[in-house]
Amino acid sequence: MNRRNFIRISTLGAGGAMFGSIGFGNDREPSLIDRLTGNTHPVESGYTRTPTYCEICFWKCAGWVYKNDQDEIWKIIGNENDPHCNGRLCPRGTGGVGMYFDQDRLKTPLIRTGARGKQEFRRASWDEALDLVAKKLDFIAKKYGPETVALITHGSGGKLLATLMKAYGSDSVAGPSYAQCKGPREVAFGLTFGTGLESPEPTDIRDTRCLVLIGSHLGENMHNSQVQEMADAIDRGAAIITVDPRFSTVASKSKFWLPIKPSTDIALLLAWMNVIINNGWYDKEYVEKYTTGFDKLKEYVQPFTPEWAYGITTIDPNMIRDTAKEMANASPAVIIHPGRHVTWYGDDTQRSRAIAMLNALLGSWGRRGGFYLPELKEIPEYPHPPFPPVAKSWRDILAGRYPFAELPLANAIVDGSIKGNLNDFQYRGWIVNGSNLNMTMPDTRKTLEAIQQLELLVVIDTMPMEITGWADVILPECTYLERYDVLRNDHNREPVIALRMPATEPKYDTKPDWWIAKELAGKMGLEKYFGWKTFEEFLDYKLTRMGSSLEEMKKIGVKKYERTSGDLYFSAENPPVFDTPSGKIELYSSQLEEAGFDPMPRYTAHEEPPEGYYRLIYGRTPSHTFSRTSNNPNLSAIMAENKVWVNPKVAANWQLKDGQDVWLKNQDGSTTSFPAKVRITERIRWDSVYIVHGFGHTSSQLTRAFKKGVSDAALITKVLLDPVMGGTGMRGNFVTFITENPDKEVKA
């Protein structure tokens, strides 16, 4: 037997588990294996370990990197003292070693020699590559102004690059994590409670009695501490209510699964509010004391009965009542989870508002088992001169569109880089760090059109992702296991910080972002913004002002602080503060009304798939993060490609067989570059197909991920823009199957 199946899926009555196997070569021969005789295998004690926090996803769990006795990186184990992971990393964090060992990594700076998009580069020294970038940035600043350069970044490395941008004179620093992901819910909770959610979301799952998940597949998205708390909640017998057109993992563990018709969630939320208000199941004292607009809401939801919602959502009215009752019984220890990737249909801020309002009615905000009041540690800044004024900020550039956007929109930067889209303004240069825009942004063609018009594209990454093929200059970043970074500082139940330090020297000719930023600053005459000599000095400056030191943090990795803002929940000593215009929770949003939007969420019917087409739903799998881990040797061994989930009825119509190759084509004729295998399963509705996001790489340098599965980005050509804050709704695309290679068709 060669390569084994790591995940064996079977259906009862269909002949038991499938144990097929295919041949596969080994990537790396671990030296440890030779010593695996007898019982002398090394354990934790006696081995060197260095603190880190994980960079495989945004949860940033703190851990320890262990080396073996040959001084090689061996394994990464969670830090027991870290509330993000409680000593247990998720599969991606555990497989983080693969990011270091991946032999496909970018190995040296590269300068483009051929046309954009053709992988023609020559090797360069860091000095030459950075000189070129600095010269180009100077040129753009003089000709168009520095504000025409944008930084698009994801992850911890971008912080110092952002400093460089501000010193240079641009504030267009965007992450796809906002307008392509959690932006709408941040705005919605901000409008309702006066505070966004941030990360990790302050959901008090630890103490909840009822957890409601709307399209959020916790457990498939491994938001580590949340998944841990959810498992504890299952142990405690808390009720889980899952609303999802797909029978997700968590749906299988739920007391109630509501197999909703996609795109109708707002109708369900309105019906829940109707039931809860009309039965008097809301938290009367809380609503009375802390909210405004209840009477208007009560009147507004009258038509939205469960029977009304049934016709829209296909959810049985009794099920709607029963689940409303379940929530009410648990109140205030109930969480209507805000979700994370919420840019679906373009009315996402309104849907998130409905979620926020339902939480308010049930009195869960600021209450045990609902949402706790998180606290963040303040980290002192390393002194630097004030940044120059920005001639045109990202907000000026939007010219009044998306009035509630709080952060720059990556999609607006893509748009604004295409001539004529923003009147006289055009972005001229991008620095892209850790964001494979070809796959993270919807509509790959548009992204490429924008790139073709740029004067400069610098890509800083660890891997030869698709975006690197379009760069003028590629700067190879070392992995998180080989570098220092800024301190991790996310809000939590108690303020907590974590240190990342190099466990080993950078492999190949790669460098940390902070080094790249500081060197570039030096070449651009901006060194005064980077006053420190070494990064150790930069960190120690901060840590010694926070009652710690770099020395101490190297030993402990994670430091918790006492809360200074009072209790974790509202109390007599800790009365609530709502940073809204009324100083109360706004069930009726006057801010939205003033800006010309619906003050209370409205259900709008969304377009439905034409005959022979199915709604494209995408999601996560526990062993991968977006498109960035698909080439990781340890993680691609777990899951190498995505499959197209098809309901058996649909499969029968199309005469599809399990495991057969299909290409997907969307409503605009955009077709996947590669085929994916069909997975026939009852777990998906008949009006939709499902794929895991992040596969279908077209970069041949990703030797494990190349041509494996399909990319949803190519199929999301229709973007439903959220007029409130500019989010890009991506669930309005419909696909059909092509069973013969479409390339062959063209040739014939």
Partner: protein
């Protein structure tokens, strides 16, 4: 002493962390695994059920793999664990054929390999790597001869099943249902 593992199928989310952690802890070559995930689906939309299990060698008390091994490489060891001594193994594959659970594979170096219950860790007082990493804490490991052990306690409280009992191997993995 009788080591056993209980796997809570109600909590397991099939994330494969146990697989990856085993891989790094025990330097299992990429492309092979000592533990794996099984997903079993039943019903038709929308009346569905799913069971997820993290599986590995059952460290059977009556194991056909030990019985059929011609060299004694497969043997009972500490706490009833079933282990393979690599340098005694000739790679004949008789044990692989005899195991009803498909728990063994041939290592590229020529010997047969499988789950060891991480005895090297257990002897140091540490739980097996998969148990230590599992984000849902759905794996319980311990001594079923000791009624106070966590695994004995959870088996007392919960309903469970064992796999392929009809094979008569007397397996030591318990699946909480």
């Amino acid at each position: 002493m009788r080591f056993a593992m209980a796997i809570d199928t109600k909590k397991c989310v099939g994330c494969s962390d146990c697989v990856v952690a085993c891989q790094t802890e025990n330097a299992v070559p990429i492309g092979y695994c000592r533990d794996w995930i099984v997903e079993v689906n039943d019903g038709t939309y929308p009346r569905l059920e799913m069971e997820i299990r993290s599986e590995r060698c059952n460290h059977c008390s009556n194991s056909p793999c030990v019985r059929c091994c011609p060299t004694g490489a497969s043997h009972y060891d500490y706490g009833g664990t079933v282990l393979v001594t690599p340098h005694k193994c000739i790679g004949c594959g008789a044990c692989i054929a005899s195991c009803p659970y498909d728990a063994r594979y041939t290592h590229p170096k020529g010997y047969v390999d499988k789950c060891t219950f991480c005895v090297h860790r257990v002897k140091e007082g540490l739980p097996p790597a998969c148990v230590a990493v599992c984000p849902t804490k759905c794996l319980y490991f311990g001594d079923t001869d000791d009624p106070r052990s966590e695994v004995s306690q959870v088996l007392k409280k919960r309903k469970y099943k064992r796999l392929i009992p009809e094979a008569g191997t007397n397996p030591n993995l318990y699946f909480l249902i």
